[in-house]
Symmetry: C2
Subunit: 310 residues, 2 copies
């Protein structure tokens, strides 16, 4: 899976940073996590096609997470999209979408399915599995875990040969589930490999439902609006500090942590990253247009994508 | 007056162009003309302060002209604005604003006055005069003429001296409206100089109400969604071609024409400009972040402003 950060600011954009939006891509399918103002243009500037978005998952109804939704939906329509789109969010997301779309005469020319969730649900998005968990942001809010498609187990070719299956064609038949010369697929093919999991917190205070949902995630994308020096403000505004996010990742036995939704007060985001790394070394702080690729080998940072190097 | 183009695309943004938004500045007061998605961030990237906006004038309720409004209003609020803001637009703009703001809990911490207009109205915006005219876009739509503050007439110093007023201090008293040694201000000071006028079409077909309203304007900022080769589409979609815009400017005896709201089909905007110039030589095509300065000497193009050269 690839994780592309389209907007990483908290509350308000800045010269350098757009509001919250993250694209997770598996194959050619994209799931958009939140959709702050400007997301459609960030997508146009990125290597990802906005027409390949299958679902937009909204964590909560604050402007910096949803004001990009009506423009994106209309642009898809003007670009002759016909594929259905899922819009998922906490209770109220349907009314919010309707309110925003009612402003203009823009009916979309493709079906939009709205799904309201509160936590505990599981959805299928073109083979990707999305599970929802409740978060703690002072209003209705949720987080999402996106799990990639499972992959077939690996064929132990040496073992198959030792059991008398030698030709490439017979190997392929085994992979395809056929028994060959008495050798059953389960004799030489390992267990199915579950898809990797990316969890996204939205805006939240640390909370038990999140701790539970993100356990063992390959990547936790977590808000870190504040640093520990502003921990009291983080509590007051239902946010998380960089250190707290790292503690969540550590305690969840996650493999990697990426911090986003960073307050504009932190000019130097490397300090935010350093705070998290002191607790959980596999921490990164996101930049707008920063692309990460998650493989079985781990998480690779591919740097900031620009129209020139995309 | 300065005219800064924050977004110049038609209908949908592109890599190069944001959706419709133009800032007109006189002194430190800014009037925003339309507010497409992304306008607040374009303002942050520009030399203009979004906190100095006195009024946002919406021409019509299509998404590419209004979807930036809720984010801008909320960011002003989060930035501790206390000054009132006027939001003006065709009938329905109040309900549209309420719908967009209702999505989130974001009440603004400053007063927002909403004024619905249909054409024929005249408004005062901190000394700037805005007159409204009806346009023809298939839905409720208006254009605006922004007139700068009038300036005092020029003192004819030579004449004043010949009439016996010689000291700088007495000259200043004359300018201040006092009679000095029997010399009345009107004897030596020319007539008040009316403020320059910038007209903005929004989206429209050419129409008589516009022709009338823009007569003698110093600058007409006009949509040119299409070129003449797509004239039939311009009619169908209630838009104007570059050539038609130039004819409007020529027939109105305007001084300058700036084209905006250009379809993304025209990669080369210089062709759009050339089409207009063949009819009205004082034509320009706008680029995002292009800044024009209007003085009594004429219109000066200051180029594209970037965070580096702003």
């Amino acid at each position: 899976m690839e994780i592309l950060f389209l907007g990483t600011s908290a509350a308000v954009p800045s010269k350098e940073h757009s509001t919250s939006c993250i694209a997770v891509r598996s194959g050619s399918d994209i799931i958009l996590l939140d959709c702050g103002e400007g997301s459609q243009r960030q997508l146009m500037l990125s290597p990802f096609s906005f027409m390949k978005i299958r679902a937009v998952l909204i964590t909560h109804l604050h402007g910096d997470h949803v004001f990009g939704l009506p423009g994106l939906l209309q642009t898809m329509s003007l670009s002759n999209r016909t594929d259905p789109l899922l819009v998922c969010g906490p209770p109220g997301v349907g009314a919010a979408l309707e309110a925003m779309m009612s402003v203009t005469e823009g009916e979309t020319q493709y079906p939009v399915e709205v799904r309201e969730v509160s936590g505990g649900e599981s959805l299928d998005v073109n083979g990707l599995t999305v599970t929802v968990y409740a978060t703690d942001h002072g209003i209705a809010s949720v987080g999402y875990v996106v799990q990639d498609r499972q992959r077939p187990g690996k064929l132990d070719a040496a073992k198959a040969r030792s059991m008398g299956v030698t030709s490439g064609r017979d190997m392929a038949r085994l992979k395809n589930g056929e028994t060959v010369n008495g050798v059953r697929p389960e004799d030489v093919i390992g267990p199915v490999i579950p898809g990797q999991r990316v969890a996204y917190s939205g805006d939240t205070r640390p909370c038990p439902t999140e701790d539970e949902a993100v356990r063992g995630a390959d990547v936790i994308v977590h808000e870190a609006t504040y640093m520990e020096s502003e921990a009291a403000q983080a509590v007051d505004h239902f946010h998380t500090t960089a250190r707290q996010a790292a503690e969540i990742a550590r305690d969840a036995c996650a493999r990697h942590l990426i911090l986003t939704h960073i307050s504009n007060r932190y000019d130097d985001r490397s300090a935010v990253e350093a705070e998290a790394r002191s607790v959980f070394p596999e921490s990164y702080v996101a930049e707008d247009m920063g692309l990460f690729t998650l493989t079985s080998a781990g998480l690779r940072y591919d740097g900031v994508r620009t129209p020139e190097n995309r």
